[in-house]
Symmetry: C2
Subunit: 227 residues, 2 copies
């Protein structure tokens, strides 16, 4: 009999089940040529604001859709709908993260046609989402300048689970006394070499460059798939 | 046999066990005359900055101590130690909230003498801490002006679990385009009648008033205990 506490065992089984579904999702995304980008951050770091900007810019040339997770309300889906791309809200209730099964259920029967990009906005949380693979190609972790430079050190697991850091609200850099070099050093301490983007959804700073990077990453996947 | 999923059953047992310990803590706090205030919020809402100001102001006249929870690092304890009051860090590892048992363990053998106030800073998270009673007298939920006015609607459970809302970073009110009246309406929609304080740890705005309120609340408890 296992000597592990019961809660640990149950949690491991849940995670294992999640990984199985995430793997199937990843294969499905790959087959259909959609590049999937997820966003994680604290509540209020600007996931929805950044996403609205990105969707609006991308929608002129690409086929894009978004899934947004929240405990309650469909506010984010309503905000993102202004970009005129298909958006679906996933209400998680009391669950503090998205799981692969929630993504799968949201996609089942959602007739959005072939996509080039699918964005998944996770519940605002720097802890729970870290263990749940959603089958995404890239995970973006957002850190707003108003949160302080120490967050990577205090929440290392989620920074480690991400592929790209995005420093948001750059328009508030000086008002918030944010020290960029400290934040960059802290990100590098936790996840050496992770690319770091700096953006402002308010002024638009950095967003076009970030989108170019995402497009280039999508092309890489296509090339890798063709080889 | 229960028809509930195993994870739900296990979680209920964990919560039940937490409540038993929290009840014992509350009785212990009551007996020793210490008024316990916990702080919850998103990561980066300014819990530590507010607490440092409050501890510094309180320490001139009252016996105060603080416990601070974090996944990793002792940074917060180091910051709060500048207030010269006794501070102890609780490292939670991958656990996204404090539990009553962690508070109990941290207090056991911590020779701080009789206290008038004990502050407990929770892990930065708007979901997980909501279900865990720590035996506190008052729970403060912080909402910084940079996070947006919609957070009470999106994280209703934790706003519901709190006794007092504190709007932080008021110095950034205009830079962040924060609409106070909308935030107040949203807090009231989720938790009608909850008192709301507005503070800035940077300028000191509102902090003395908040402390007066906490002192008055402590006196009420003393009176209630004497009757």
């Amino acid at each position: 009999m296992s000597t592990e506490p019961r809660l640990v065992t149950v949690r491991k089984n849940v995670l294992k089940q999640n990984d199985v579904i995430a793997r199937a999702l990843r294969e499905q995304f790959h087959q259909s040529g959609v590049f999937v980008v997820s966003l994680v951050s604290s509540p209020g770091s600007g996931k929805t604001a950044l996403l609205e900007k990105m969707l609006t810019l991308l929608a002129t040339r690409s086929r894009v859709a978004a899934l947004v997770g929240d405990l309650a309300t469909e506010n984010d889906a309503a905000r993102l709908a202004r970009s005129r791309v298909p958006v679906k809200q996933i209400i998680t209730g009391t669950v503090c993260h998205l799981e692969a099964a929630m993504v799968k259920n949201a996609l089942d029967g959602w007739n959005v046609g072939p996509l080039e990009f699918l964005f998944i906005e996770n519940v605002g949380n720097l802890v729970c989402p870290s263990s749940y693979d959603l089958g995404e190609n890239l995970r973006l972790i957002l850190l707003s300048v108003t949160e302080g430079e120490d967050k990577p050190l205090k929440y290392p697991t989620i920074f480690n689970s991400a592929d790209l850091a995005v420093v948001t609200k750059m328009d508030l850099l000086h008002a918030a006394d944010f020290h960029e070099e400290v934040a960059v050093a802290n990100i590098n301490a936790v996840r050496p070499g992770m690319p770091i983007w700096k953006v402002s959804a308010k002024t638009g700073e950095g967003i076009a460059d970030l989108l170019e990077f995402l497009k280039s990453q999508r092309s890489c996947t296509q090339v890798r798939a063709a080889v």
